[in-house]
């Protein structure tokens, strides 16, 4: 392969990062899978052979040409539900992460930049949040607020920010000592400009990496909640509540088409996202 020796003018570190990412094979493969899943979620009405909630007269039917992955115990098409289930997983994954990244970044920036009592107060709050048994609190909150897609997103988002908050605070503590931030202060810039234009862009790499892994974790959480019946309410399809049919011994032992596909989808989604996260981490951290 031919290598370009002369550096292109005005090439940003983002472009260099992209180049390194593309060399990471597993990450690229993961990204392809993630993109396909997002497309599947977006184009669900086009791709699904049936309405996911339509009840057919043959229930627990094994795969056939009419129902490629068979039907579930109520008589709904498993493949169609699988395709629609991607919507739930993708929106919980991305939605929850967006919520907690926004909260975590804001509080982390404030704690790290202002220090002193602001830092003390915010850090003690994160300590409180981090000392709760996470899953149990989510279960309780969801059951109090009533399980729904939005509830899950908000609850995970509101509970999961301390990790990002600490991460951002740590980065800010070191970045605010750099001469370019000192220069920004000396130039008389206002605090929001310093925070969002000079500090945040330089603290972004660990945030992006952490958020990527966060998406995978949120998908697992949603599946767990739905499996326990605290997630997305039936008849709406989600991979987690499809899995919960495996609570029945008959389904588990003799009707694998009902629970293996959603299980595989969760596995595949989480694995793919984690590979993307690995790739991002490697390509971002090799930059000095």
């Amino acid at each position: 392969m031919h290598k370009r020796v002369e550096p292109e003018a005005g090439r940003s570190s983002a472009r260099l990062m992209l180049r390194r990412f593309l060399k990471h094979r597993m990450a690229v493969a993961g990204l392809v899978v993630v993109v396909l899943m997002v497309l599947m979620a977006a184009l669900a009405p086009v791709l699904a052979p049936h309405n996911p909630n339509q009840i057919f007269d043959k229930f627990e039917a094994s795969p056939s040409s009419e129902h490629l992955l068979g039907t579930d115990s109520v008589g709904r098409d498993v493949l169609s539900r699988l395709i629609y289930g991607a919507r739930v997983s993708m929106s919980v994954g991305v939605g929850a992460v967006v919520v907690y990244v926004v909260i975590g970044v804001l509080l982390g920036l404030l704690a790290g930049y202002y220090g002193r009592w602001v830092d003390q107060v915010i850090m003690r709050i994160t300590d409180v949040f981090m000392s709760f048994p996470y899953f149990m609190v989510i279960l309780i909150l969801v059951s109090v607020l009533g399980p729904s897609l939005l509830t899950i997103i908000v609850v995970i988002g509101v509970l999961a920010w301390p990790m990002i908050g600490r991460l951002v605070r740590g980065s800010v503590l070191s970045i605010k000592q750099t001469d370019y931030v000192q220069a920004a202060v000396a130039l008389g810039y206002r605090t929001p400009r310093i925070l969002f234009r000079h500090i945040l862009p330089n603290a972004l790499s660990p945030i992006i990496v952490n958020a990527t892994f966060g998406v995978a974790q949120a998908i697992i959480l949603e599946s767990g909640l739905s499996f326990l019946g605290m997630g997305v309410r039936p008849p709406a399809a989600s991979w987690g509540n499809m899995l919960s049919e495996a609570q029945s011994i008959t389904v588990l032992s003799s009707q694998p088409w009902i629970w293996i596909p959603p299980g595989l989808m969760i596995l595949l989604a989480v694995l793919a996202i984690n590979f993307v996260g690995d790739g991002l981490r490697d390509s971002m951290e090799s930059r000095s």
Binding site: P7, A9, G10, R11, S12, S13, T178, D179, Y180, Q182, A183, A184, V185, A186, L187, G188, Y189, R190, R193, R197, H198, P201, N202
Partner: protein
């Protein structure tokens, strides 16, 4: 003589040393301990001293990147030591700083053009287009081609970056610029270029410099007057010519003596060898801070701290002793 542009009076900057779980203050590092000097419009005041003598802290206090523990920094009639953040922000346009390390003083995520235009945009002096035009102009003033406007800092060399750092400091048309070791991180061949640039810009824009360096070469070349610091205190202050011709303080003499002699014929001269290390600024010696290393120490030096009188803080200034 005209009024000074900057008057630093009894400036102190102590850093608390905290220990234990409850962060009890057990002592202070006296980074800057009672420093006073004046800077007149259009001149360059050099501050020289070895590492840890407080020269950088003094420079940072002048632009209020460091809040003084005590003392005053009067710029153009205003004491900036106790000014509110909002009022200080307005004054900051007149006081700028050039940093030592050109690799960390430019935000790696921002293109050079944007970096230079930003001060004007942030202070609402010009709109985006005009600010970028001014940035291009300034880039050429500091001797870099316009094509660098679209480059990122990592695509430039150290000397080029330092030029960008200087250009950025000039964007707001400041009156006083604190240059904190602006050439120390550069190759020797580049140092002279940057020093010349600073000199040219001073003439062109009527700038006043506070030039901080540990290198006597740069200080001698650029300064009109010099302040010699040791352990957070001023040892001697005089014009450059006076200091190099006849140092009054033993420390200045030793500092000058340690400066490498470029002429090989003069290398055989007797050198003054100083013994020991610089004492810790957390626990400075009693009396004159230099007495532990001074070759002329007498009893009074160990007990009484000499005040800065007639430009020198020494009980036995060299000239008077006839040494």
């Amino acid at each position: 003589m005209t009024d000074p542009l900057l008057q630093v009076r009894n400036l102190k900057r102590y850093y608390p040393i905290r220990k234990g779980v409850i962060a009890r203050t057990v002592g202070h590092v006296r980074a800057v301990d009672d420093v006073s000097f004046d800077v007149y419009p259009g001149e360059t005041l050099g501050i020289v001293g070895e590492s840890g003598c407080g020269k950088s802290t003094t420079g940072r206090a002048v632009v209020r990147l460091e809040a003084p523990t005590a003392g005053s920094v009067v710029y153009d009639g205003t004491d900036i030591a106790g000014l509110s953040t909002a009022k200080m922000r307005r004054l900051r346009t007149e006081l700028q700083m050039v940093f030592q390390d050109p690799y960390s003083s430019l935000n790696p995520q921002i293109r050079i053009g944007e970096l230079l235009a930003e001060p004007l945009i942030a202070h609402k002096r010009l709109d985006r287009t005009a600010a970028h035009a001014k940035a291009a102009e300034m880039l050429e003033t500091v001797g870099l081609p316009k094509l660098y406007l679209n480059r990122y800092p990592h695509e430039l060399s150290g000397g080029q970056r330092q030029r960008v750092g200087i250009a950025r400091a000039l964007m707001l048309e400041p009156k006083l610029i604190v240059c904190d070791e602006p050439v120390s991180a550069l190759d020797v061949s580049i140092q002279a270029q940057v020093l010349n640039l600073l000199k040219d810009l001073q003439g062109e824009f009527g700038l006043t410099y506070v030039f901080i360096s540990h290198g006597l070469g740069a200080i001698k070349y650029i300064s009109d007057r010099i302040v010699v610091m040791y352990l957070g205190k001023v040892m001697e202050t005089a014009t450059t010519a006076e200091i190099f011709a006849q140092p009054k303080h033993p420390y200045t003499e030793i500092l000058l003596d340690a400066y490498p002699e470029p002429d090989p014929r003069l290398r055989d001269r007797q050198r003054i060898i100083v013994e020991g290390d610089v004492p810790s600024p957390a626990n400075p010696p009693k009396g004159c801070v230099f007495h532990t290393r001074c070759p002329y120490t007498k009893d009074i030096c160990r007990t009484e701290s000499p005040p800065l009188a007639d430009g020198v803080a020494c009980h036995f200034p060299l000239e008077a002793a006839g040494r």
